[in-house]
């Protein structure tokens, strides 16, 4: 529980205070200059990233360091990797991610619901869930390799283990938030079965559940890359190790860029649902 809290907190509280001083009051019509400032302010992160990439390009072109290639070279390397077919192993990685995360999501939701319903089950499973949440799961990968071999199974299991526990814990935490007064009132007005779920349970629990799913997908992706770098046979992780061993810095950055884009993309998709839902609220 505490682990889940602290894991969710950083992203949770952030939007509330963000930019509070520069939010203009609705009644005051901002002047043209103020509007430009506000726009610039909103665009700052993007400006910052563009500047950063520009700096990388300049430093890369000046050849100041062998580990900083120009950004344009990294981008062209991605296309070269696609053309030469070296990224084909990526589909295998994505498959492992899909299956593993699918299992983590469905079982995580089921276990979250079951532990909310049964106190005994909750009490029995709690030490395992807490333990798995906080221990370095990557240390288990060599053992899983012994049990499941070097193939896809190990990767699916790792992806599952990375994602499952956060989802289960957050589902449980979300369901626990249902206000007894609220529940009582809904029942008094005759809400039962599906209506009760739709009007009380789901609206209350969904924000935290979505947070769990978002953390789950980012952890699952980490599991995918970690297992592949440790097994180092196929997939994106093996590419990372291969490029690292051969000092192919541009290739390395190309793969890292792909991984970062994938990570940001997957988490922001869920973040969009989360924002929409939390804003609409109860």
């Amino acid at each position: 529980m505490t682990q889940a809290d602290s894991a969710t907190r950083p992203e949770d509280g952030s939007e509330i205070v963000d930019g509070a001083e520069l939010v203009f009051r609705r009644e005051v019509i901002p002047t043209g200059k103020q509007r430009t400032v506000a726009w610039l302010y909103r665009l700052l992160p993007i400006i910052s990233i563009v500047t950063f990439l520009g700096l990388l390009e300049i430093v890369g072109r000046l050849e100041l360091s062998r580990v900083i290639p120009p950004f344009s070279v990294v981008v062209t390397t991605i296309f070269e990797l696609i053309e030469s077919g070296q990224l084909e192993s990526f589909t295998v990685s994505l498959q492992a991610l899909g299956i593993g995360f699918g299992l983590a999501l469905s079982l995580g939701l089921v276990v979250g619901v079951l532990t909310t319903l049964s106190r005994t089950l909750d009490y029995v499973l709690e030490p395992y869930i807490n333990g798995f949440m906080s221990m370095p799961t990557s240390a288990l990968i060599p053992v899983l390799m012994l049990i499941f071999g070097l193939g896809q199974t190990t990767r699916v299991v790792v992806v599952f283990l990375y994602g499952f526990f956060v989802i289960a814990v957050n589902t449980q935490a979300g369901l626990r938030q249902v206000d007894p007064v609220h529940a009582e009132m809904a029942k008094a007005f005759g809400a039962r079965g599906f209506t009760y779920l739709r009007t009380v349970t789901i609206p209350t629990a969904l924000p935290l559940m979505l947070t769990g799913i978002r953390l789950g997908i980012s952890r699952s992706l980490k599991g995918m890359v970690n297992s592949e770098t440790i097994i180092s046979v196929t997939g994106i992780g093996a590419l990372i190790i291969r490029f690292g061993r051969s000092f192919d810095v541009a290739g390395l950055y190309a793969v890292i860029l792909i991984v970062i884009v994938l990570a940001v993309l997957l988490t922001s998709i869920i973040q969009i649902f989360e924002n929409r839902f939390v804003r609409r609220g109860l």
Binding site: L44, V67, S134, S138, I141, S218, N226, T229, F247
Partner: protein, 266 residues
């Protein structure tokens, strides 16, 4: 005459006892399954509990385990301390300055979701296969979480308290020592704990991928030689160390948290 309250209390106590029995029973069943499974399958794949414990004992006696632990934890200690020394001020800056957060916060957001393993090779190309590379990787794993947590903590100091202190003309030194820092203490505690748990992850991963020394190296070598009991033994030691460190982190967190500020409606 037993009162109703007392009967309820007794009932509750017996229920708790029942739950505790289930918990221990599940633990024993899990160990039993492992033991039986280990004995049924090949020793080269899954050693039993007793074999694993035997291997741990043996390696403790011949000193392999101790030296591996020492090597691994060197990087952990330096990396975690470094991540706190740099991560805490950075987090406070981002949390208290909105303009800095708009400029640099986006990198924290991206790095929090990025699998850090992917940058291990770059660190190694720059620093080589040595202690400084391992320290750097532990640092990188831990620092992002530290910054993200401290940033949230610094933001969530009750604005009402800050406002009040300003209204009473508090000097900025007093504002920091009396309001802001105490208000951040819970988040600092969480950052401390998370830096330990992320640091262990970094320590293990770097040893399992490119710099095979310490506990990770022990496990990898044993795997190559099909010494399954050593693989299991090393893994168990790593996991136990991780769990103990988090326990320690929780303990420190609890010591820090009550000292924090309470209340203060916005």
């Amino acid at each position: 005459m037993t009162s109703l309250v007392e009967t309820q209390r007794l009932e509750k106590r017996s229920e708790n006892r029942k739950l505790r029995t289930y918990r221990y029973a599940s633990f024993i069943v899990a160990l039993g399954i492992w033991e039986v499974g280990g004995r049924l399958t090949s020793e080269l794949l899954i050693p039993s509990v007793t074999q694993t414990l035997g291997a741990i004992w043996e390696m403790t006696l011949n000193g392999d385990m101790i030296s591996a632990l020492l090597v691994s934890n060197q990087s952990l200690v330096f990396g975690v301390i470094l991540s706190l020394v740099i991560g805490v001020p950075a987090g406070i800056l981002l949390g208290r300055s909105q303009i800095l957060d708009r400029i640099f916060g986006v990198y924290v957001d991206i790095l929090v979701v990025t699998p850090m393993v992917s940058i291990i090779p770059i660190v190694i190309i720059v620093l080589g296969l040595n202690l400084s590379a391992r320290v750097m990787i532990v640092f990188l794993f831990a620092v992002v979480t530290v910054v993200a947590n401290v940033r949230t903590g610094a933001r969530s100091v009750p604005p009402g308290l800050v406002e009040m202190a300003r209204a009473f003309g508090t000097k900025s030194w007093d504002l920091w020592t009396k309001i802001l820092i105490p208000g951040m203490l819970p988040a600092l505690g969480a950052a401390l704990r998370l830096s330990l748990s992320r640091g262990v992850v970094g320590m293990v991963i770097v040893e399992l991928t490119l710099v095979s020394v310490g506990l990770g190296g022990l496990v990898l070598n044993a795997r190559a030689l099909f010494q399954a009991d050593t693989v299991f033994a090393g893994t168990v030691v790593i996991l136990v160390e991780g769990l103990l460190l988090i326990r320690f982190g929780r303990f420190l967190e609890r010591r820090l948290a009550p000292a924090g500020l309470h209340g203060g409606a916005a």
